[in-house]
């Protein structure tokens, strides 16, 4: 039905274009017209398509409430007497029946007889609405087309009007992204606000205890219901720092190799491989961290502990020998590996943006490659690289979820020991929002508080990074 309608509208639009153009050609014969016939054709096409689409959109938005009104108006008493949720279920079944599907529930005596009647009535209402919408859309199209045809005069500026429509369409497209973002922030802020009605902001931001389980009974153990986010942000920071310690030097040095030292063949091989690495899904890095790196590091550090102390049970040895699979170091190191391609390709771009003339100048002074890199390229490129690191890598590291979920652990320890189990903001959001939720408890809502804080931190980092990159760019302009 809808497809046929769209086809008809498309045909009308095409006809409007051809008709408008032909009409314009006829009317403009021997006259100096402002716009070319094809532009009048395009104008007619827009005036056919746009009103029809608006009508269809309005129909899409308002069809459901209108239909509900109409069906509610004629409900038999037996149905009207039902509780609201039962009534909804009844209508839903009537709908299904109308579409030729079996009902989901078995309805008792008076209702069972009403059901097919209601189904037929609903189908009728629906049909009427659909036909109404279709006719309205076609009418709107025709009226729009007639309006456009009436505008085919030599002095009408169809060219500018078409440009205006195109401007509008492009603006709407970019507005969608912006509005969506605003919507996301709004919903986040709304739920976060509800959370902060349960837990004061200061406790959330400065509390050092994170234990979102709320006791159901007074004597329950381990369910204190503390919402201090400091351990989570500390864990995030720790893992981010470890990741940057891995990714920044390796990525930067590999970028220097690629842009300054590598021959054509080496570059042709290494660059695509790095890009493949960038395309590996983070969940795969998660496996790698949880099943390979984690156990290896555990064995390694426990061996060191045994070697240093001679036994696992005394003093320092107890601590060292009890390293677990899940620790900040595992998550951070694997996240760092994940970030290497990003850091490398960003740094590569920035190094390539340094003019060749600076390299030539340095080489002509008798500088070696490494001297040129150290004294000319890096000083020129470092601010940009720092900005890029902050912009892309740090934001990614903070927002990264899968690796830390699988490799960092769940215990909210406030520690900066990389061998300890820590948890991050994103991990907590995942654990809080997976499974069945009740959206009125502080436990679930705390996820939104975390999300909003994380969002604000990342936003701030992005702004700072943009500034750095901008000041750096001005250097060569």
């Amino acid at each position: 039905m809808i497809w046929i309608l769209l086809l008809i509208l498309a045909a009308l639009a095409a006809a409007a274009f051809v008709g408008g153009r032909t009409l314009a050609q006829g009317r403009f014969r021997g006259v100096r017209a402002h716009s070319r016939p094809a532009q009048h054709g395009a104008y007619a096409l827009i005036w056919v398509a746009a009103p029809a689409l608006v009508v269809l959109m309005l129909a899409g938005i308002f069809a459901a409430p209108i239909e509900r009104q109409l069906t509610a108006a004629g409900t038999p008493d037996a149905v009207a007497a039902l509780e609201p949720f039962r009534r909804e279920a009844f209508f839903a079944d009537a709908h299904r029946l109308g579409r030729g599907e079996p009902a989901l529930q078995i309805w008792e005596r008076p209702l069972a007889e009403q059901l097919p009647v209601e189904a037929r009535r609903m189908v009728r209402v629906e049909r009427t609405l659909q036909w109404g919408a279709a006719v309205a859309a076609v009418l709107a199209a025709i009226m729009g087309g007639l309006f456009a045809f009436s505008q085919i005069r030599p002095n009408v500026r169809a060219r500018n009007r078409v440009e205006g429509w195109i401007w509008g369409a492009l603006f709407v497209c970019s507005a969608v992204a912006v509005l969506t973002t605003i919507g996301i922030i709004a919903s986040l802020a709304f739920d976060a606000f509800r959370f902060f009605q349960h837990v004061p902001v200061t406790e959330f931001l400065f509390g050092t205890q994170w234990s979102p389980q709320i006791a159901i009974r007074a004597d329950q153990v381990g369910s204190s219901g503390a919402f201090g986010a400091v351990p989570l942000f500390a864990g995030t920071l720790l893992i981010m720092l470890i990741a940057m310690l891995v990714a920044a030097p390796i990525g930067l040095l590999s970028a220097i190799y690629l842009s300054e030292y590598a021959g054509r063949t080496a570059r042709a091989v290494i660059k695509p491989v790095l890009e493949i690495l960038a395309g590996v899904p983070t969940v795969v890095y998660g496996f790698f961290a949880a099943l390979t790196v984690g156990p290896a590091l555990r064995v390694f550090f426990n061996e060191i502990g045994l070697f240093l102390i001679g036994g696992p049970l005394d003093g320092l040895g107890q601590y060292l020998a009890l390293v677990q699979n899940q620790m900040a170091l595992t998550a951070g190191a694997v996240m760092g590996i994940m970030l290497i391609p990003f850091v490398s390709s960003l740094s590569d771009d920035i190094l390539n943006a340094v003019p060749q003339s600076l390299r030539d100048g340095s080489f002509a002074m008798g500088a070696t490659k490494s001297e040129t890199v150290k004294r000319v390229l890096l000083p020129a490129a470092l601010p940009g690289i720092a900005g890029a690191l902050l912009l892309a890598a740090v934001s990614r590291a903070i927002g990264e979820t899968m690796i830390v979920t699988m490799a960092a652990g769940l215990a909210a320890n406030l520690t900066f020991n990389p061998l300890d189990t820590v948890t991050t903001v994103t991990v907590q959001i995942v654990t809080l929002l997976t499974g069945d939720q009740e959206f009125n408890s502080a436990k679930t809502l705390s996820a939104f508080g975390l999300g909003l804080t994380l969002f604000l931190v990342t936003l701030m980092l992005n702004i700072v990074a943009q500034r750095i990159v901008q000041t750096y760019r001005e250097q060569y302009d």
Binding site: L358, D360, G361, M365, G366, A367, T368, V376, P379
Partner: protein
Amino acid sequence: MGGQVLPEAAPAQTPDRPEPRMEDAEPAPGPTVVDTPPSGPIKIAARDVSVFYDGKQALYDVSLDIPDKTVTALIGPSGCGKSTFLRTMNRMNDTISGAKVTGRIAMDDEDINDRSIDPVLLRARVGMVFQRPNPFPKSIYENVAYGPKIHGLVSAKSEMDGVVESALKRAGLWEEVADRLQSSAMGLSGGQQQRLVIARAIAVNPEVILMDEPCSALDPIATARIEELIDELRERFCIVIVTHSMAQAARVSQRTAFFHMGRLVETGDTETIFQNPRERRTLDYITGRFG
């Protein structure tokens, strides 16, 4: 000179037609030095130098003597190989992947392409100034101190101050920048930047300075300053300058070499080349009939 026109030079009578790149259209190989030799001592002697980029030949068997304490101008239309030849003299072609240089270039009778010569050390002896001013995005002081620093020429800070000052003075820039040595070189004007780059080049006390169209990005006043400077520097250095401007070549150089289509066509004293060229192609080029 005159009177030395060889019969082989006949194809040059149709200069507007692209010269066929065939061996038989060329003068017979061998010592083709029919030009007047330079009078002073020879600093750089190039023999049968050819350059290939990715197997494509850009320079054909160039043999040229470059005298010391003289300005030698390399002229010719775009793509004639004059810059390519210039870059063979400090082995800058080494930095381009796929570039290959054959033939012998001797500096003070020492083959600079010899394996025992380190291009990095060679470039400390042969400075280069580029088409567009390319100061490093550092302070004026750091720019001039760059060469002495990487070559370890000076150790004490006071000594470095002296080197920087004298280089800037010789480049005629000292008075303009003396009070802002620590500010960024990017804030200087184009002409000042180019003089700074010259100061940077002479700070390591090179023997030869190569200039690749050093004034093409400058206005006439800045150009005049650079030309004056080149004339002063001639007393201490061997200077080779690539230029597109006939007038500049006539003004600043004592020797001129005319390149066309990757070949050295003619070389001699600048006066002779401009007033009484031996080759028809040279005459056509300097009188502006092509190029």
